[in-house]
């Protein structure tokens, strides 16, 4: 049925989109852009008991031509103080690179990113200064993360 109106879009993407809209994962919303059905506007709620609690983070997600054989491209649009996310919003996450599997989905990717917010990993950093901060004075780094959340992720 959908194949006729989105002739270039693989059925997998259509089904994934339908499911994302009908059964969204808790704390996550993803909706395709109207002009480009491979481009998603994503919102992730800062997980409880994390420095990002109470924040609402905006991301963009793009499904490349060879998706799902190639991983989606994801980037934070909201500024965030996190050792695995750099100032351009790029994310250091294994499943977005060499650990990608075509059996993973947009949903699993976004859940992994949500989990990354709960458990920053300063041992495999992307933003070196933030990672250093995290390792030397975690309390202070967490406070900065909270401050950033308040400043940049509180109202949309």
């Amino acid at each position: 049925m959908a194949a006729s109106c989105n002739s270039n879009l693989p059925r997998r993407i259509i089904k994934e989109t339908q499911r994302l809209l009908s059964e969204p994962a808790p704390g996550i919303s993803a909706s395709p852009s109207e002009e480009n059905l491979r481009y998603f506007n994503v919102m992730i709620l800062g997980p409880n008991q994390s420095p990002y609690e109470g924040g609402l983070f905006k991301l963009e997600l793009f499904l490349p031509e060879d998706y799902p054989m190639a991983p989606p491209k994801v980037r934070f649009l909201t500024k965030i103080y996190h050792p695995n996310i750099d100032k351009l919003g790029r994310i250091c996450l294994d499943i977005l690179k060499d650990k990608w599997s075509p059996a993973l989905q947009i949903r699993t990717v976004l859940l992994s990113i949500q989990a990354l917010l709960s458990a920053p990993n300063p041992d495999d950093p992307l933003a070196e200064n933030i990672a250093k901060h995290w390792k030397t004075n975690e309390t202070e780094a967490v406070a900065t993360a909270r401050e950033w959340t308040r400043m940049y992720a509180s109202g949309v």
């Binding site: 059925r11 089904k15 950093p125 992307l126 070196e128 990672a131």
Partner: protein, 569 residues
């Protein structure tokens, strides 16, 4: 053994190096085996047979194990019998469980790649029973194969499953084109994972060369005719060592702009040496398969040695300390100095390049000779082709000598200025060799032309034969001396009295001999030729030159040491 390319004798056809047909040549030779595609496949099949019969695994699994253990049957056996479970886990050989799978009873299954629900018989799964539809498998395999040789260690698409996807499954699902590529990678893995085997670097050549352990010489001749150094894969460069050649080639690189960029922006992988550009991400680098080496971008040390010990993952103390000690500026400074010696470089480069073009021309001539001219000569001079081998031998000698001579200029460039004694000796040997070569080449080219252009058989053909064969063997001896001297680092040089400097390479023009048409041109040879070149500054010659073979004999000798010709004849 003779030089005729041996027939397909499986693994036993050991070709010998280029100096093969002379018993008086004691120089060491490279020992190696040329492997054709078929030889490689046979060896792979043999190794797989070995493994699956001993370990009682399928042939596909044997292939997976062998590729993991770099095609060493003994390493597979050792690891397997030491800890089978661990090996299975590492390579992804999951044992078939007897319990039924989660999908038992279901007629239709959902493929978790395309989300289609299909009859079970249209779905495929590895031994882990993660079912996906055939077209998704084909896509998955296509992506993996086009990503490179990593497809040889393909795993189940399920994100948390590490079951290996073996050759049989890949080939049953891959498109024709992908299957061909996969076969290619399979074949290549035998050579590329194996430290003793390397591909012949000639374009389009499909032979591989296996060096026999213990061989100290690296110059090999592939069955395609390409001569190369097995160690560094550049063209054969004996007697100059690989480091000098690498430096020289880097220096000559026509794409020096490109090279500068690569030097400035990339670092070689510490393990496989491929240049790597870091464009983003952390300092934890993983080289692409098959290397997969994990290292620190800053200090190029193994990643396994990083962590708290080096000041945390984001700071590498080893790099900081080394930088303070100035280790990292050394290469930079050296490059700077090299730039300043441009003039010296041009001198050596011109001679290097001229010899190379001479070599190429001589090689073309040799091919032409063997293809057509030899027939001509045979007809005109009424000689059987079998009796004309000396002409080709002479030309082959010219080709080889030009090659050696060419590399001696790279050697000369890097010879230290302070070592005047060595430099003098080197230039003397080089001059002698070059001089001999000029005579040989002139005879092989000009004199030969006379016989080719003649209307009928010429009476002095036999003299030509003797002369050319003599020059060939004499030149060979000069070059053997040169090769030997350079290979032992000019260690024979006597530090006290510096040998004559008139034998430098630049002296060739002035001392060049016009070889007499007559065989007994001894008077001319000894008077104006080499004898005077050997004087130590005074007028007394220290040597006399044999008129037949041109060997330089001590004044006391009445008979030539080399060919027993009586002095003065």
């Amino acid at each position: 053994m003779d030089d005729v390319p041996s027939s397909e004798e499986e693994t036993s056809d050991i070709d010998t190096g280029s100096w093969s047909d002379d018993e008086d040549m004691p120089a060491p030779q490279a020992l190696y085996t040329i492997l054709s595609e078929k030889d490689i496949k046979d060896r792979q099949a043999e190794a797989i047979d070995n493994v699956w019969t001993v370990l009682s695994v399928s042939k596909t699994d044997a292939g997976i194990l062998l590729r993991h253990f770099k095609w060493s049957v003994s390493r597979v056996n050792d690891a397997w019998f030491a800890d089978e479970a661990r090996v299975r886990e590492t390579v992804g050989l999951i044992e078939w469980s007897v319990e039924g799978d989660a999908y038992d009873g279901a007629n239709k299954l959902t493929c978790w790649i395309c989300f289609d629900t299909l009859p079970r018989e249209d779905m495929k799964a590895p031994v882990c029973r993660h079912y996906f539809c055939e077209s998704c498998w084909t896509g998955y395999i296509h992506t993996a194969i086009n990503d490179g040789p990593g497809c040889l260690t393909l795993r189940c698409p399920h994100s948390t499953c590490s079951a290996a996807v073996g050759e049989d499954m890949v080939l049953s699902l891959a498109s024709e084109e992908d299957a061909q590529k996969y076969h290619r990678y399979l074949l290549r893995s035998y050579v590329e994972d194996n430290r003793k085997v390397k591909w012949c670097p000639a374009p389009g050549c499909e032979f591989a060369v296996e060096l026999i352990p213990g061989s100290t010489v690296y110059d090999v001749t592939c069955k395609c005719g390409h001569q190369f150094c097995w160690n560094c894969l550049e063209e054969a460069h004996r007697p100059v060592d690989c480091d000098t050649v690498a430096k020289w080639i880097l220096k000559n690189s026509a794409e020096s702009e490109n090279m500068n960029w690569i030097l400035a922006n990339s670092k070689p992988c510490p393990k496989c040496k491929r240049p790597i550009e870091k464009n983003q991400g952390c300092m934890h680098m993983s080289c692409t398969p098959p290397c997969k080496y994990e290292f620190c971008w800053l200090c190029l040390g193994a990643w396994s040695e990083h962590g708290e010990r080096t000041g945390g993952f984001y700071a590498c103390n080893r790099y900081e300390i080394a930088k303070q000690e100035g280790v990292y500026d050394e290469a930079e400074r050296r490059r700077e100095m090299a730039k300043n010696s441009l003039e010296k470089y041009t001198h050596y480069y011109e001679r290097w390049a001229t010899n190379e073009s001479s070599r190429v021309k001589a090689k073309e001539d040799l091919i032409k000779l063997e293809k057509e001219k030899i027939e001509d000569l045979s007809n005109k001079q009424c000689q059987p082709v079998s009796q004309l081998k000396f002409v080709a031998d002479a030309m082959a000698q010219v080709v080889e000598c030009r090659r050696v001579l060419k590399w001696t200029y790279a050697y000369g460039y890097y010879l230290k200025v302070e070592e005047q004694g060595k430099r003098d000796f080197f230039e003397y040997l080089q001059g002698e060799a070059e001089h001999g070569l000029e005579r040989l080449q002139e005879c092989a080219e000009k004199d030969l032309k006379d016989f080719l252009q003649a209307d009928g058989p010429k009476s002095n053909f036999n003299e030509f034969r003797t002369k050319l064969a003599g020059l060939t063997s004499v030149t060979r001896i000069y070059f053997q001396n040169l090769v030997r001297a350079l290979e032992n680092g000019l260690s024979d040089v006597d530090p006290a009295p510096s040998p004559s400097r008139s034998g430098s390479s630049k002296g060739i023009g002035s001392s060049k001999l016009t070889v007499s048409k007559s065989l007994n041109g001894s008077r001319r040879g000894s008077a104006s030729g080499s004898a005077s070149r050997r004087t130590g500054g005074g007028d007394e010659p220290e040597y006399w030159t044999c008129g037949r073979c041109t060997y330089g004999n001590p004044m006391a000798a009445e008979v030539c040491d080399m060919c027993q010709n009586v002095r003065g004849l």
